[in-house]
């Protein structure tokens, strides 16, 4: 008899990191090792309250702990934000397909991210950096509402930018004070000359409206729909392609995704909603 699909693994929050006024990262220690591939997601349960899907933001190379970055957006996320170190939690997963890293080998990896969308991207970034020589380059274009809203400030404004093989530009929608970078939405720092499009893949993750316009730009620059990888945000619940909540056309985002090429989903209406 196979295991119960709905049984979570117990865990505990071992650290809480304030990232921005609305976003926190939670370091979670599961009671046994928990492996995942970058881009896969987990269902995180606050016992007795409910569960919600999140893509871990930590490197998949680390299996005894996992980081999950969460924006206060609904009931469960608000309750999680009120949690402290020592809070018992439970995890199910990992679910879905993750990023097909091996298909990116030898290519320029163009990563466009915004807001809390940098969470899955951080995991991807750490995975790419671990084998940076396999890729022609990693070109990042990240945005946030204001400088304060950037998550992972410490590494984003510091060490990540110094890495060989990585090129990074940041932008904010608006700024009042100390910011020497670009001001404007993330599409304002995209340029067709950023990468050799013929030999590139694009990864887009962020708020739906940002993903929509970034995708439109990328298509205009000449990216083929099969070269654009999107992390779709849908209402994933069971994680195993049964409960139906996350259906996007014929796909179960939880099982067939959450990473899709634009080519897979472009024929369906309202994919950004």
């Amino acid at each position: 008899m196979t295991a119960n699909l709905y049984q979570p693994i117990n865990g505990e929050i071992v650290e809480v990191i304030d990232e921005s006024p609305t976003i926190k990262s939670f370091v979670i220690a599961p009671e046994r090792e928990f492996g995942f591939e970058t881009g896969q997601f987990v269902e995180l349960t606050l016992p007795g309250e409910g569960e919600a899907p999140f893509t871990p933001s930590s490197s998949p190379a680390v299996t005894e702990k996992m980081e999950i970055t969460i924006m206060k957006a609904g009931r469960i996320t608000a309750q999680l934000h009120a949690c402290e170190k020592g809070q018992p939690v439970a995890i199910r997963g990992p679910y879905g397909n993750g990023y097909p890293i091996d298909e990116f080998v030898g290519k320029e990896v163009y990563i466009v991210g915004g807001g809390v969308g940098l969470a899955p991207i951080r995991s991807l970034f750490l995975t790419l950096v671990d084998r940076i020589g396999d890729f022609k380059s990693v070109v990042c274009r990240f945005g946030a509402r204001t400088p304060e809203d950037f998550i992972y400030k410490h590494t984003l404004f510091g060490s990540w930018r110094e890495l060989d093989g990585v090129e990074m530009k940041l932008t904010v929608d608006e700024c009042n004070g100390d910011w020497d970078g670009n001001v404007g939405v993330v599409t304002t720092i995209l340029d067709p000359k950023d990468v050799d499009i013929e030999n590139a893949v694009a990864i887009v993750c962020g708020p739906p409206i940002m993903m929509k316009f970034a995708t439109i730009n990328l298509l205009e620059y000449g990216f083929d729909p099969t070269q654009i990888y999107l992390s779709m945000e849908k209402n994933m619940s069971c994680g195993v392609g049964k409960c139906g909540h996350c259906m996007l056309g014929k796909y179960y985002v939880c099982k067939d995704g959450p990473v899709f090429t634009y080519a897979q989903v472009q024929k369906y209406p309202k994919i950004w909603e």
Partner: protein, 351 residues
């Protein structure tokens, strides 16, 4: 011995009930519901001429169940063997569909699996389909040919019982003394009855025949306004999804008990406004017409593409059950008509 005769249904059902708890149909007003045979206190059992009102999924995937217990996991309660009598061909097809979802390799739902394995399936021929029945439109028929352990057909002066599995054959062998042989005349009568029911369905559903497969009809009609039009008559009661024997959407929620936390699994409905909404506020199917379109696409296109069968058996429960006026047969037929009109328009243009 695969096919036998018995004159009294009660003798047969008593024998089943001696071995396992048995559920049987009982008429309540114009419908049948399933009741425990024990609770019938020796009443004459009924042979339902039509499907029971409630879907068979209730036995396999209950409205609400405890899906997991933590932090200390608890083994699920043992499911004892049980039998259900009176399932129709459409019910058996619906089980085949649910099996695809819940018994999918690598993603087996053990909650479903244990019940499925413990269930003795006793089906029967449908002899008086309701006005809403349209299994024939979707390639179904009124009598079961597979998917049962035992099947019962009413004939003059008695019943033909046929086994369809090793479980069924074992039952017949173990109770051989209560059955008699089936003369050819009775088999001919069974065939005659089946043909009559088939003809009745064909006649009743003449107006709902489709010009192409349901898949082609919904796929080519994807942009049609028919979905929005039909949705105007929907009152969002969600009854269509509850009584549907193939709809299997569910919702997981967490509970806090005195000494454990629980995850509950409960039926949900894709026709509910917030069904697909995400925490960030987005809702891909906020409009009722979009939800109806998705439901039809899921049934006749997406599910077929993934599992090789349509997710509708034409039982018509949704037509009977819903409080509004959405009729799946009308919807498909309207899309089908549009398809022909479109075809004509294109052909005309081409000329």
């Amino acid at each position: 011995m695969d096919t036998v005769f018995i004159s009294r249904l009660k003798t047969f059902l008593d024998a089943v009930a001696e071995t396992v708890p048995l559920y049987v149909p009982r008429r309540v007003d114009e419908h049948y519901v399933c009741v425990s045979y024990d609770s019938e206190n020796g009443k004459v059992p009924e042979f339902n001429n039509i499907r029971v009102c409630t879907p068979v999924k209730e036995f396999l995937f209950p409205l609400r169940e405890l899906a997991a217990v933590f932090p200390e996991p608890v083994a699920p309660e043992e499911v004892a063997p049980f039998a259900v009598f009176g399932l129709k061909a459409c019910d058996l097809r619906s089980m085949e569909i649910l099996d695809k979802v819940f018994m999918e390799e690598e993603f087996e739902d053990t909650l479903y699996l244990v019940r499925r394995e413990k269930m003795l399936v006793i089906s029967s021929d449908c002899s008086d389909p309701a006005e809403s029945c349209f299994c024939n439109i979707l390639g179904g028929q009124s009598h079961p040919e597979e998917g049962f352990d035992l099947n019962v057909s009413a004939v003059d002066d008695g019943f033909i019982v046929q086994s369809g599995s090793s479980k069924g054959r074992r039952f017949l062998s173990a109770h051989i003394s209560m059955f008699g042989d089936v003369p050819d005349a009775l088999l001919a009568e069974r065939q005659k009855n089946r043909t009559a029911t088939h003809d009745q369905l064909e006649k009743a559903n003449g107006a709902f025949q489709l010009r192409a497969s349901a898949q082609e009809v919904v796929e080519r009609g994807y942009e049609s306004e028919v979905f929005d039009e039909q949705a105007q008559t929907c009152v969002e009661c969600q009854a269509c999804t509850r009584v549907c024997p193939t709809c299997h959407c569910f919702y997981l929620y967490d509970t806090k008990q005195q000494d454990y936390f629980g995850k509950m699994k409960m039926w949900d409905s894709c026709m509910r406004t917030g069904y697909a909404a995400v925490a960030g506020g987005g809702n891909p199917r906020e409009m009722l017409g979009d939800r109806l379109r998705h439901r039809m696409m899921h049934k006749f296109s997406y599910f077929l593409e993934r599992y090789g069968v349509e997710m509708c058996v034409g039982c018509g429960r949704c037509v009977d059950g819903e409080a509004g006026e959405v009729d799946i047969r009308v919807l498909l037929r309207k899309l089908s008509d549009e398809l022909t009109d479109k075809g004509r328009a294109v052909a005309k243009k081409a000329k």
